[in-house]
Symmetry: C2
Subunit: 214 residues, 2 copies
DNA sequence: GGTCTAACGGAATGATCTATTCCGTTAGAC
DNA sequence: GTCTAACGGAATAGATCATTCCGTTAGACC
């Protein structure tokens, strides 16, 4: 670890360390199980429950924070991919980046477990726009199979995020395997059958942000 | 509905009708939400809770029954596909059949919510063997991309089963769309990159049958 | 050294949710 | 006109959690 913040000694240093420990633990716990109890987060972070509530007024607030952080990460990955010259490589890097950082679990799968703020909605729209730009570039370059639309990417993320077997390292390996398969099928090529049904609409995908009970 | 069992009149006829109503409702409810309460099943079936417990000693027993029924369906689909002459068509029909009947949600996704019986295990093994036969036939015919193994099919089912948007009809449409994409990527063809990691082993897949809490 | 207090740990509280049981009804069987 | 299998659904008995409360404690400051 780097020590770029060791200005603060003693007690306050511990508090800072706990800040990140709690966020890391929460990310890890809620990615594995979106309905996990707060006590599980505290246990993984190695702190007491009160340390959580000192920082976040409620579970919802913690989840919102995690989700926002996920959207941030999503945007960063999209922006980095946009720097790549080759349109296909840019898209592939983007998709790979999202899958490798498991950002989908942090955003869409957490949405619906809390009531979203307008800011989160805007942030989500902006992120989607970045992804669409990458998609359109590849599409105009003719490297994508016919009939695909940007929202297909979201569904592919969803499918890959459903893979979870063994520890997180093994899960990552398996996701890479099936990502390769999916990417191969997205490229333009001979023998591509027509896609049988329209992709999900924005409205359909937006339903995920409606608060759910489960 | 056909009336092949109307020998029994009155009260017993109602009981028979309830038998299937309950099983249908349970299938529908637990596919949508594996952790659904028994009362939800009763509500959908249009009966009282006691009608459930008259037939199944516990929730576990109902889940086991559903799972067994799903394995039965799985085998039937595999056997029907085995009749098809063309190896690729046989495999494609099999995969399509599993996805269309949402049988994966009935077997693997329910496994782990109850303690499995030895019979279920054997039944599962037998089903897997049928699927492997279809896979091997296609593999030997050279129509599959290199590096695929039978267990890849299970992961593809898993990914497609994770798609759920709107009502069941819309969900089916979307699954057909992404099934087409996945199938295209399974065929042998030019430009197929090597798959980056080994597929799931039987042991890894078997872990799903270990009882979980969630 | 002696206080003071921010930051904690974690038990206690108050809701909520559910599997299962219990008991009074009722509609056909006879 | 009885009798009873099959019900409906309220009541019971436990879980499971989010959140609060209160007693500790380890640095900060004198």
């Amino acid at each position: 670890m780097s020590d770029n913040e060791v200005r603060l000694p003693g007690r306050q240093a511990e508090a800072l360390r706990n800040d990140t420990a709690i966020l890391d633990a929460a990310r890890q716990v809620f990615i594995r199980e979106p309905a996990a109890p707060m006590s599980a987060v505290a246990a993984v972070a190695g702190v007491g429950i009160s340390a959580l509530y000192k920082r976040y007024a409620s579970k919802e607030e913690l989840l919102r924070t995690l989700c926002g952080e996920g959207l941030e990460r999503f945007s960063a990955i999209a922006r980095a991919a946009a720097e790549i010259g080759d349109p296909w490589e840019a898209l592939a890097q983007f998709v790979t980046g999202i899958v490798e950082s498991d950002v989908h679990s942090l955003t869409v799968k957490l949405a619906g477990t809390f009531t979203p703020t307008p800011e989160l909605h805007e942030h989500a729209s902006a992120s989607t726009a970045l992804a669409e730009k990458l998609f359109d570039r590849a599409s105009k370059a003719g490297v994508l199979r016919d009939g695909l639309v940007p929202n297909d990417l979201a569904m592919i993320f969803e499918q890959l995020a459903s893979i979870r077997l063994g520890d997180s390292e093994r899960t990552l390996q398996l996701r890479r395997r099936y990502l390769r398969i999916q990417l191969d099928a997205l490229r333009a090529g001979p023998d591509r059958a027509d896609l049988p049904a329209p992709a999900a609409t924005d409205d359909e995908l937006g339903q995920r942000w409606q608060p759910r009970r489960t």
